[in-house]
Symmetry: C2
Subunit: 252 residues, 2 copies
DNA sequence: AGCAGAGTTAATGCATGCAATATAGCGAAA
DNA sequence: TTTCGCTATATTGCATGCATTAACTCTGCT
């Protein structure tokens, strides 16, 4: 995301630290010290410092007033906002795609992603991994059709938070929705978005894509009642559930 | 933005380099080398490296595949997209504000900003600097009422580009619109947004705020015909005007 | 003359040492 | 007992030296 292969140490530090954060190895709110992290990640302090900056941009860390970083914690309100924000941006991408798309080849990528997901539903056993891949292809194709680098940047930042990604709750769905009703609805929305884009119905495409993102909200509410489903959500360890989602719990 | 006073060298490097970039001291597309920049900014390479990362995140620089950074150039299509994106996000902020606002004191900040701008219009000579201040207060109050940290982050990133800020074209207006017709329209929109938020008309507030941002688009089109007006736009030195017919927008 | 390869140069990436500062702990005084 | 201040420690911030690698050039060969 930041550098390709030219910064092995930086890349290593970012990936390793991100994995540890998402795994919940560091409690939210705790200060992460460079000197303790450096040996853990096997890198020196210089690339580690850069990695901390990257993770801060992604939103997983926050800077302290006095310097240094703490693991950020997220409330349920943050999750809902992140999902809604993704819906806003993907809705705009859908609108732009409807208004602007011109290249039939790019459009065909959207069609083929929908067709591929249709084929997955026809199969006997549902292949979740393949679905996630095709789902991301769909969203990528939509963003490509929008032809808006600025929007791409904003969406990339918004979906950098793990639980805000388009397929964040797909794995949870396998737990809470055995019959895959929600996935059927999602696929129907994919088809409708495709149709709206094809017909250049910008407003309709935007509304559909916004509502499509809100499926993740429904999954979130359902997953909250099911611990094993919630554990399947990436980054769930950073969600503050102990002292309620509402503000200041009196720390005794 | 990144650190407060704990990183004097980093802060110095970010501000100095940003100023030089916006002033057009480095031609867009040119590689910025650390070793040449370090003595120019009076900082060492370590904080300079961090500063380059910050400016990259802001969008003023791009990383090269082989490492290093280049000054980013912007097409007119990029400007239009950036303004439209700001409209999308501020529209959402207005909708959230309408749907969620509860604290009368925060709401009053919105009211007072509008009133202050009204007062500025009543004066004999129009105080542009004061207008910019109050305009930013209006937008800040709206964002505050939205109560969405995620949206705030996204908007902060979107408006980090200088020409995408809410008051980027106000100075240009003093050149191209001596009678301030556009500012009168802008102020009317401020009032309407305030009214919609007060009445909890979310959809209306969103549409109004989107259209409000598009005033900047109109100013952009007007400023393009007036060189001195365009020079008043911050960061105009980074806009690619030589090869004209902005690439992918009209590419069909 | 053009292309390829090797050598050289210059820029980035990384590591470590040093200095400045915030924090925590302890003690003394009110 | 509480609070203020001092000290000690630990952590961040910065600078510089070194290694690696990419780019450029020059030369020799086809």
């Amino acid at each position: 995301m930041t550098d390709d292969a030219r910064s092995p140490q930086l890349l290593r530090a970012v990936m390793a630290l991100r994995a540890k954060l998402l795994a919940g190895e560091f409690p939210p709110g705790e200060r992460v010290a460079e000197l303790t992290l450096a040996p853990l990640l096997g890198v020196s302090r210089t690339p580690l410092r850069l990695a901390l900056g990257v993770l801060e941009h992604e939103g997983l860390l926050r800077t302290l007033p006095g310097g240094g970083f703490v693991v950020r914690d997220f409330t349920l309100a943050d999750l809902r906002d992140a999902i809604e924000l993704r819906g806003i941006l993907e809705g705009s991408a859908a609108r732009f795609a409807a208004e602007r798309w011109s290249n039939p080849r790019s459009f065909n990528r959207l069609v083929s992603a929908v067709a591929a997901m249709d084929a997955l539903y026809a199969a006997d056993s549902f292949d979740f991994a393949a679905y996630v891949t095709e789902n991301e292809r769909f969203h990528a194709a939509l963003l490509d059709l929008a032809q808006s680098p600025m929007l791409s940047r904003a969406l990339a930042q918004a979906t950098a938070l793990p639980f805000a990604s388009p397929s964040a709750f797909v794995w949870a769905q396998s737990e809470i929705d055995k019959r895959n009703h929600i996935l059927l609805i999602a696929q129907d929305q994919h088809r409708l978005i495709l149709e709206a884009v094809q017909n250049r119905e910008g407003t309709r495409a935007e509304a559909l894509a916004r509502e499509h993102a809100r499926l993740a909200l429904r999954n979130l509410e359902a997953a909250l009642k099911n611990r094993t489903a919630m554990d399947a959500v990436p980054g769930s360890a950073l969600i503050r559930t102990d002292s309620e989602d509402d503000d200041h719990a009196l720390r005794a």
